[in-house]
Amino acid sequence: MQTSSRFAQTLQALWRLVTLNRKVTFGFAIVGFFLLMALFGPLIVRGDPTAFGDDILDPPSVAHWLGTNLSGQDVFTQLVVGARASIALGFIAGGITTIISVAVGLVSGYYGGLLDEIFQLATNVFLVLPTLPLAILLAVYLPFNGTLTLGIVIVVTGWSWGARVLRAQTLSVCTRDYVEAARARGEGSLRIIFFEIFPNEVALVAAELLGTIIYAILAETGLEYIGLGNLNGISWGTMLYFAQNGSALLQGAWWWFLPPGLCIALLGAGLAFLNYGIDEVANPKLRKEARPRTALRKVILRLGLRKAAVKEAA
C-alpha cells in the first residue's frame, strides 16, 4: 500500500513539475510527441520506407502525404521510421555522455588533489579541441562504421563541458556542512558523492542531460548529413544527406528536406524549452511573476489533448 501511494506521489510530483511552468509544459508536449512518434510511429505507419516506387519526386498528395524522393520512396514513412534511429541515438549518446560528465565532475570536485588535476587537464584538452573536425576525423578513421561510430564520436566530444560545470558545482556543495556532517558520521567517499552531493545537483544534471541530447542529435545529424553515418539505415540525418545528394533544393523538392529539418529543429526547441523551464523551477531567481491564465493555457490544453489522442490511437 505504501509503495503504491509513493508511486502516486511521484506521479503527482511529476505532473506538478510539468504544469508548474509554461516552458516546461510546452517543451514536454513537443518532446513527448516526438518520443511517442519514435516509439509507436513505425507500428502505425505501414509500408516499407526503403521500397522504391514509380512516383519519383512527387509533391505531397493523398497517396504520399509528404511526397516522394528521387528513388520514389515515401518521405512521410521515412520521416516517421527515421525518428526512431535519430531519437534513440540522441538520447542514448546524450545519456552516456551525461553519465561520464557526472562521474568525472563529481569525483574530480570531491577528491581534489592530483586526481582533480589530471581530470581537469583532460577536460580542458577536450574543451579546446575543435569539436567538428575531431568528430569528422574520428568518424572517418574508426574501424567500425555506422551508428556505433557516431555514438562514440558524440560521447568523446561531448562530455567535457558538463564535467566542468558539475565540478564547479561540486566544489561549492562540498563546502556545505552536511557533507562534512556525513563524513563526521562515518560515511564513505562514494556514498557521500552519490547520495549526499549528487541529489543536490539533480536539477543541474537534468539541464545538462537535455543540453547534451540536443548536442547529440545535432552532431549526429551533422555527421550523417556529410555522409559519415550509417547510410543503409534511415534517420533524419541520412534523409538530409540523400536530399542533398539528389539536389532536392535545386529541383524544388522542398518536401524532401524540409520535414526532417523541421523535426530536428522542433525537437531541439522542445528540449531547449524543457531545459529553460527546469532552470527556472530550480532557480527561483529566473522565475517571472505568474501572469493571469490566458489563451496560451488553452493552446497547451489542446496540445495535451492531441498528445492523448496520439496515445489512444497507439
Binding site: D177, Y178, E180, A181, A184, R185, G186, P199, N200, V202
Partner: protein, 364 residues
C-alpha cells in the same frame, strides 16, 4: 545538573585527550622566493574530555575553536600532536579504524540550516548512523530507534517529525535533529561547535538545557565551543580560553570566569554583558578598553600573540610564548604577569569555599 566538586574531576579518566595539537593550513599560492605560507590555526593545544563533564572552548571568531573540533572529529589531520581515545593514541588512517573512531566521537555543527542535507528526510539523517555503525538489524528496529531518538531530543510527536524534510523545520527543530543525528551512533564524546549561535535567542536556552540533560543522562564527554563566555559558565564545568590559535587560560569555569588571570580573558569578560563579573569589585562597573583586531594567522605576532593588544605587554612578550603557570584548583594561564611556568608566585588563597559559594550563585 549540579556542577561537580573539583575533586571529582580528577577521578574520571579522560575519554578523549589531545596533547600538543597543532594545525597549519597551507595556503594555495605560488611563491617564487621563500617557503610556502601557512595559516597557523592551532598552536600547541592540550585538552581532556571526561565522561559526564563539559569543557567550554571560548574565543573570538577565527581563534581556532572550530579547527580544534574538526581535528578531534578527525575531519582534519593534525600537523603534529597526539589525539588519544581512552588513553590509546589514534593513528592517522582511513576506512574501518576511522569509522570505529567516529562511532565514539560525534559532532554537532554550528549552522543547522546547512548541516542537514536538504534532499533527505529526518528519517534518512537518523537512519544512516544507525546503519553505518550496525546498531540495528531490521527496518522495524530502525524505526523504533529513530522514534526514541526524536523523543530524546524532545521532538514530539516523533511519528510526524520522522517524515519531515529540513525545510519544513524551524531552526531549533533542525538543531534538535542535528543533535539526534550525532547521538544516534551512541557516542562517548560529543563535539558541539557553537550549537546555539545560529539560533534564535529565545530557543537557545532550550537547546543548551537539552544538551546538559543528555550529557548527564548518557555520561557524555562534551566539548562546547562558544564565543559567549556567559554560556560557558552556565554550561561547562571547565573552560579553555583561546586567542589566535593559542590557548591562554584554562581551568574550572567558575575560577576562570570569577578570577580571570590572562589579560585577554579579562578583556573577553568585560565585553560580556554579565552582571556578576561586571560588578565584581567594589560594586563598580569594570570595562576594559578594547583595542586592535585579532591578528592575521598567516603572519602571527611573535611570542604571545596577544601582545599587540595587551595593556600589560612587556618586551619579553614579543620574544616568546610564556610557559604554563598553574594556580590552585587546576586553574592555569600562559602569561608573564604571573611568572613563567611552574606554580604561581603568589598562590591564591584557599579556593574551595569560594567555589562552592559560586556554585550556589550559578545554580539557584
Amino acid at each position: 545538573m549540579s556542577i561537580e566538586q573539583p575533586a571529582a574531576r580528577d577521578a574520571a579518566a579522560p575519554v578523549l585527550e589531545a596533547r600538543n595539537l597543532r594545525k597549519y593550513f597551507p595556503l594555495r599560492q605560488v611563491r617564487v622566493l621563500g617557503g610556502q605560507n601557512v595559516v597557523h590555526a592551532v598552536e600547541d593545544t592540550s585538552l581532556a574530555l571526561r565522561p559526564g563533564r563539559a569543557l567550554a572552548l571560548v574565543g573570538e571568531s577565527g581563534s581556532g575553536k572550530s579547527t580544534i573540533a574538526r581535528l578531534l572529529a578527525r575531519l582534519y589531520e593534525p600537523t603534529s600532536g597526539v589525539i588519544a581515545f581512552r588513553g590509546e593514541p589514534v593513528k592517522p588512517g582511513k576506512g574501518r579504524a576511522l569509522r570505529a573512531y567516529r562511532h565514539h566521537v560525534q559532532m554537532v555543527f554550528q549552522d543547522p540550516f546547512s548541516s542537514l542535507n536538504p534532499v533527505h528526510s529526518v528519517r534518512y539523517h537518523l537512519a544512516r548512523p544507525l546503519r553505518l555503525h550496525k546498531l540495528v538489524r531490521s527496518k522495524q528496529e530502525e524505526t523504533e530507534h529513530i522514534l526514541a531518538l526524536l523523543n530524546r531530543v524532545s521532538l514530539s510527536p516523533a511519528e510526524q517529525f520522522i517524515h519531515k524534510y529540513p525545510h519544513q523545520l524551524s531552526g531549533g527543530q533542525r538543531q534538535r535533529v542535528a543533535i539526534a543525528h550525532a547521538l544516534a551512533a551512541r557516542p562517548d564524546v560529543l563535539l558541539a561547535d557553537e550549537p546555539v549561535s545560529m539560533l534564535d535567542v529565545s530557543i537557545r536556552l532550550d537547546i543548551l538545557n537539552l544538551m546538559l540533560r543528555l550529557k548527564d543522562e548518557e555520561q557524555l564527554a562534551l566539548l562546547f565551543i562558544t564565543h559567549d563566555i556567559a554560556s560557558a559558565r552556565y554550561f561547562a564545568e571547565d573552560t579553555l580560553v583561546m586567542y589566535a590559535g593559542q590557548t591562554v587560560e584554562g581551568g574550572p569555569s567558575e575560577e576562570v570566569i570569577q578570577r580571570p588571570k590572562h589579560p585577554y580573558t579579562q578583556l573577553l569578560l568585560s565585553a560580556a554583558p554579565d552582571p556578576d563579573s561586571m560588578l565584581a569589585e567594589n560594586g563598580q562597573v569594570k570595562t576594559l578598553p578594547a583595542r586592535g583586531e585579532i591578528p592575521s594567522l598567516i603572519k602571527p605576532p611573535s611570542g604571545c600573540r596577544f601582545h599587540p593588544r595587551c595593556p600589560h605587554a612587556m618586551l619579553v612578550c614579543r620574544q616568546r610564548f610564556p610557559e604554563r603557570t598553574t594556580f590552585a584548583d587546576g586553574h592555569w594561564t600562559h602569561c608573564f604577569l604571573y611568572g613563567d611556568g611552574g606554580a604561581a608566585a603568589t598562590p591564591a588563597p584557599t579556593q574551595s569555599s569560594d567555589v562552592s559559594m559560586n556554585d550556589n550563585s550559578v545554580n539557584p
